[in-house]
């Protein structure tokens, strides 16, 4: 994954510079120009498509004797109705509990014996199966992948076990203040829509899940025409292609299941304050937010840069400077867009000692107001443009990270060259774009406010912020 060499002359000029460089501290020198151009090594990236529409992506990397394989499809948790919430996770988990000629323990044994790992999972927009291990075990790993994707057994006894585990996970989320906050925030924004529940679903729905429902859901979403098969590591493209043809060549193309309606927007229509009562907590868990953006939204890059200024990564965003460095109110404070195929939420989250909850909330809301109605400086924009471009490359250090990012683009049906064009898109975003994004996308005046902590202390402290209700975990 060599990065384009265009910047090297500038770098060398700087490194070999004369006396000025010796006497001037590096921090007083202007930063070197941002690297541009492609980030994915085209010589190592191979793509193909089988006759049934199955897309194949191979990113070769022979530096270590490792191999990662996977299949992802373009439908996930978002396909579920509220009544069947949890079905995608249940299906994915059950796929890993016995496939082809192996029951659950036999399947786990063949994977464990190789020191390999098998993961099945459901995200909002995709279900995926991944297998990784040593490249010398390629054929066995490939066989496991094909069995799990095409021949899961859906044993009723395993279904009973998985259902019990999912119910325990959902109940266990109540022990985590962060999960309580996330779940309440989703409910306040999207009650009645699937986005209003956690990825794992609801206890009521999960309690009704049985093996036949998983089998049917698997049949709906695992279609060759909707899937991408990917491999990364010490493996040759021709080898993967031949294995894919043999194992997946007769997989029916199928049809994409229609997408359910997107969540309502704008949400909430007006300010709502919800306190989740946990009298024992030392810290109040705070979330503030409203509707956000879809993954494919043309404003995405401007929105991400705006978000970076307000509360992105690092220690010097506006929120971190104000809330952490200046006032010592929190260990972390971040803003985020949960970008899915349909628009997910925008939010700001932090946690602070209970007596300081109101102060922290006032600061959060003030920073959102400032972003919406104030101005961003050219320096702020340039700083986050450099951050976005530089951090982007650091995030693509490993071949598996590159592959995951390419698979995500495929799942979202976004342009395949998006990684290579990203730094240019960042560079071409203007102050006007970022300013417009803030005005259009931030709505502190009607934001939902969720606070997890002792209601007896918090409710009086939050007075005046809006209509308040107390919920039990």
């Amino acid at each position: 994954m060599r990065v384009a060499a265009a910047v090297l002359p500038a770098f060398l000029a700087l490194a070999l510079g004369g006396c000025a460089w010796r006497s001037t501290p590096a921090w007083e020198l202007p930063p070197p120009p941002v690297r541009r151009g492609p980030v994915v090594d085209a010589d190592r990236l191979h793509r193909a498509e089988l006759a049934n529409g199955l897309r194949i992506l191979v990113f070769e990397d022979d530096r270590l004797p490792q191999l990662g394989l996977g299949i992802a499809v373009r439908r996930g948790v978002a396909l579920e109705s509220v009544e069947e919430a949890g079905l995608a996770t249940f299906t994915a988990e059950l796929m890993g509990r016995g496939a082809g000629g192996r029951d659950a323990l036999q399947l786990a044994q063949v994977v464990d014996d190789l020191g390999a790992s098998l993961d099945t999972g459901a995200g909002w927009d995709s279900l995926s199966v991944t297998v990784s291990g040593l490249s010398r075990d390629a054929e066995t790993l490939f066989g496991v992948l094909a069995d799990v994707v095409r021949r899961p057994r859906f044993d009723p006894s395993e279904a009973d076990k998985v259902r019990g585990e999912l119910l325990a996970v959902l109940e266990g989320q109540k022990d985590s203040p962060a999960a309580l906050g996330r779940n309440a925030f989703a409910r306040v924004l999207y009650d009645g829509h699937r986005f209003g529940l956690p990825v794992e679903g609801s206890a009521q729905a999960v309690a009704k899940l049985r093996a036949p429902a998983a089998r049917a859901f698997h049949g709906r979403v695992f279609q060759a025409g909707d899937a991408i098969l990917y491999a990364t590591g010490d493996v040759r493209f021709a080898e993967v292609r031949a294995l894919a043809e043999a194992a997946f060549g007769d997989w029916p193309r199928g049809e994409s299941p229609p997408l359910p309606p997107p969540p309502p927007s704008p949400v909430p229509a007006e300010r709502q304050v919800v306190v989740v009562d946990r009298p024992d907590l030392a810290q109040a868990q705070i979330l503030v937010g409203h509707e956000g953006l879809a993954r494919a939204d043309p404003e995405r890059v401007a929105a991400l840069l705006m978000n970076e200024v307000i509360g992105g990564s690092g220690f010097s965003s506006r929120l971190m400077s104000r809330v952490r460095a200046e006032e010592g109110l929190a260990y972390g404070v971040y803003s985020f867009f949960a970008m899915r195929r349909a628009p997910g939420p925008f939010g700001v989250s932090t946690s602070t000692r209970v007596p300081a909850a109101r102060r922290a909330l006032d600061l959060l809301l003030a920073e959102l107001e400032r972003a919406k109605h104030g101005t961003f400086s050219a320096e702020e924009l340039e700083s986050v443009q450099r951050l976005a471009a530089g951090g982007f490359v650091l995030g693509l250090e490993t071949s598996s990270a590159v592959t995951d990012a390419l698979v995500d683009l495929d799942v979202q049906a976004l342009p395949a060259d998006s990684l290579d064009t990203y730094r240019d898109r960042v560079a071409h975003t203007t102050l006007d774009d970022v300013q417009a994004a803030a005005r259009e996308l931030l709505h502190p005046e009607r934001a939902a406010i969720v606070v997890v902590g002792p209601a007896a202390v918090l409710v009086p402290a939050l007075e005046g912020l809006g209509p308040t209700r107390v919920e039990q975990p």
Partner: protein, 447 residues
């Protein structure tokens, strides 16, 4: 990290693949400055990232009067120096897309910055500046201690697993400083002043107590020349003070209960085990894999899969510089009885003490260890960390092949022997996190 040409051939020789790997450590260069500063450089031009790390040989295990000082001090290193005040350092690095942070453990404090090669000169100068010219004002210390107290509330006081870990360490170690949480007790963090911070800085933050480790896409000669220029005037300090305490032998089972209003109770167990570098280490690593790696491992299979008592179960060998632990833990399912999980856990421990594992289990464990060792070579950050940690712990960087050979030598009998030797009922400490009579009225801890 180019693969050796022999690898294709070697792939045919089962279980020898990693032996044909070129060990990146073999290309690591060590430079020692006159002031004692050690510099490890490992060029790897196949990655777009360079990781620059500064390892200070001090951790919470070195603290004397004030607990949490090593960690609080790590925070203060981000709050400004003479020539780069306030948050300027972070802003400068952020504006270059650089990604850095720091962490403190029982044994070391580590500062790292992952960046692109063209920004390395800036990183070197910024690091030299704060290591040599740190400013600690009472005002900033007061703000930062509040940040640390928030971190403590988040990670420990409101976090059942954090509470379990803290209680288990202070139950297992009665004398050694490993008993105190790295983040410190809240009352110490609340009260420590500028004086102890400065004393700490002058005692431990000296070139002869620091290792700089760089790996990835960079020019080693250029980097070493820059480090030499910016660190050369940094004065060597006397050998830093170390705690003399040894943990006395445990002579009976210990138990503690933490009451929290949890739905899913937690269970943790620890036994004393040898420190890093002990000859029993590889057998204990294999035992860890057998007990808890993968769904077919003994603990996961029994407690999670077959008996459906737990959400998760784990166990492993934790080697520290001056002592070690073997630990096991269970996340009990909401509604299940934690004493049932405890009984199942100890039955599995007795089983591994009473009979050797099967040949298949042994092979599986060795393979798992090999895969995770290779997986740990993927990023510049991991390579730089490995080099520094090995040097500080063992005085040298142990070759991969040596580590794999030690693992391959482990026999079924070795595994049973170390289980029987260390996992004794009278030498275990057990913590339960369960709801109390008033549903955890004492939850929340120090305020």
């Amino acid at each position: 990290m180019r693969r050796a040409p022999l690898l294709v051939l070697a792939l045919c020789l089962a279980s020898q693949a990693a032996g044909a790997l070129e060990d990146p450590a073999a290309r690591t260069r060590t430079t020692v400055l006159d002031n004692g500063l050690r510099i490890l450089t490992l060029e790897d031009r196949t990655t777009p990232v360079v990781s620059y790390q500064t390892w200070v040989d001090v951790g919470s295990g070195d603290e004397a009067r004030w607990t949490g000082l090593a960690h609080l001090f790590e925070h203060m290193m981000f709050r400004g120096s003479k020539r780069v005040p306030g948050e300027l350092r972070d802003a400068l690095l952020r504006a270059r897309g650089s990604r850095g942070n720091a962490y403190t453990s029982s044994d070391v404090t580590v500062y790292y910055e992952d960046t692109s090669a063209e920004h390395l000169p800036l990183v070197i100068e910024l690091e030299a500046e704060r290591f040599r010219n740190l400013v600690i004002s009472p005002e900033v210390l007061d703000t930062e201690r509040q940040v640390v107290l928030e971190e403590r509330r988040m990670r420990t006081e409101d976090n059942p697993r954090g509470r379990l870990f803290e209680a288990l360490l202070s139950l297992t170690f009665v004398a050694h400083p490993y008993r105190t949480p790295t983040i410190g007790w809240a009352s110490d963090v609340e009260q420590v002043g500028v004086g102890p911070c400065l004393d700490f800085f002058h005692s431990y933050y000296a070139p002869n107590n620091v290792v700089i480790s760089i790996a990835g896409d960079f020019d080693a000669d250029d980097a070493v020349a820059r480090i030499r220029r910016h660190y050369a005037g940094w004065q060597r300090a006397p050998e830093p003070p170390r705690n003399p305490t040894h943990e006395p032998t445990q002579t009976g089972e210990r138990r503690a209960v933490v009451h929290l209003p949890v739905r899913g109770p937690l269970l943790g167990v620890a036994w004393h085990a040898p420190p890093s570098g002990h000859p029993d280490g590889p057998a204990l690593d294999v035992l860890s894999e057998i007990l808890s790696s993968g769904r077919t491992s003994r603990l996961q299979r029994k407690l999670v899969y077959e008996e459906q008592q737990a959400l998760y179960a784990y166990g492993g060998y934790w080697e520290l510089r001056h002592a070690g632990l073997f630990y096991a833990g269970v996340g009990v399912r909401p509604g299940s009885d934690p004493s049932r999980s405890e009984a199942l856990l100890f039955a599995e421990i007795e089983r591994v003490r009473g009979a050797p594992p099967t040949a298949q289990e042994l092979e599986k464990a060795k393979r798992g260890f090999e895969v995770s060792l290779i997986g740990g070579l993927r990023t510049s950050n991991a390579l730089a960390s490995r080099n520094a940690e090995e040097l500080l712990t063992f005085g040298r960087i142990r070759p991969l092949e040596e580590r794999l050979a030690r693992i391959r030598e482990v026999t079924e009998q070795d595994v049973q022997r170390v289980a029987a030797r260390y996992l004794l009922p009278e030498k275990r400490s057990i913590v339960h996190v369960i709801p109390g009579a008033e549903n955890g009225a004492n939850g929340g801890g120090a305020r």
